[in-house]
């Protein structure tokens, strides 16, 4: 259904290991594509959204890990990184979203994201495709974890699974 690829370790600290899908033939991971595509958005509100997402990931890396409460559930284990800054939003601008799979406090898989202008991501084909890809990856990780008679809290086992599976 989708291109083949691997989950690549992009950032690691004592608090969290962050992986991102890298599909065959691509030069960047999905998270790197998100940063490249949205790092210089012209609208100030969207620029602020981007900065808030980056600041939150930095906070997780340096300080608190991928704590459960910091994510917005988007259905079936797929989470969105929320915007940690409240601001008045002009109609039609949309909000920047970054989708991910939170495995545990110490393991996070970050996918791609984009500007959400519709009420539900399902109404945007680009965002829906991003979420569907992540959903498929999460299902594979779950199956492999079950097969290894383990669970998501077993950091070393899940880390090994994530680093070896083909997505």
């Amino acid at each position: 259904m989708y291109c083949m690829g691997k989950l690549e370790l992009v950032i690691e600290s004592d608090n969290v290991s962050i992986y991102s899908p890298k599909f065959d033939g691509e030069t960047q991971t999905e998270f790197e594509k998100f940063m490249s595509d949205n790092g210089s958005l012209p609208h100030p509100q969207l620029k602020k959204d981007f900065d808030a997402i980056i600041a939150l990931i930095k906070k997780m890396v340096n300080d608190c890990g991928a704590r459960e409460n910091l994510f917005r559930l988007e259905g079936k284990n797929i989470k969105a990184i929320p915007l940690c800054i409240e601001q008045r939003r002009r109609r039609g601008v949309g909000t920047l979203r970054l989708y991910c799979i939170r495995i545990s406090e110490r393991i996070l898989v970050i996918g791609n994201g984009g500007i959400k202008k519709v009420r539900k991501y399902e109404d945007d084909p680009v965002l829906l495709d991003i979420v569907d890809k992540l959903r498929s990856i999460e299902h594979q990780i779950y199956i492999e974890t079950r097969r290894a008679h383990s669970d998501y809290e077993d950091y070393q086992k899940v880390k090994t699974i994530i680093e070896t599976i083909t997505i």
């Binding site: 808030a52 600041a55 930095k58 940690c84 800054i85």
Partner: protein, 127 residues
């Protein structure tokens, strides 16, 4: 440890005040979440005590809400513990010693800092 050059570049472009705001919002959200767990209180129960909708509490806990001091005080009252604390630094008083002509912390001066010394200090500088 592994870093990512593109991520580091993005971090470098974030204004320091945005980094601070996000960090503070996340710290407060985590603190409330931990207090709820400690009290074995559900988000629904907490919402009822706060007079808020459960969805609003859920948003608070993601760190995407800027709290007013009024709300923080109410949360502290409901949960029985402070959510944020302001660091209190002991006040350091300075006195003017005419003979030497420099300021020194009051701890090293056995006299009280009074109006007389303050006046003398002003006069010395004015003249």
């Amino acid at each position: 440890m592994k870093t990512n050059p593109l991520f580091d570049k993005c971090v470098a472009n974030v204004a320091p005040e945005v980094m601070e705001e996000v960090s503070l919002n996340v710290d407060i959200a985590n603190r409330i979440y931990d207090l709820l767990k400690k009290r074995k209180m559900t988000q629904r129960e907490f919402a009822a005590l706060m007079g808020k909708r459960e969805s609003e509490i859920s948003r608070w806990l993601t760190g995407s809400h800027g709290f007013t001091t009024t709300t923080l005080a109410k949360i502290a009252a409901v949960l029985g513990e402070p959510v944020v604390e302001v660091k209190k630094v002991p006040e350091v008083k300075y006195v003017f010693i005419p003979a030497r002509g420099f300021m020194t912390p009051s701890e090293s001066y056995d006299g009280a800092f009074n109006n007389q010394s303050r006046n003398y200090f002003s006069m010395t500088y004015l003249n």
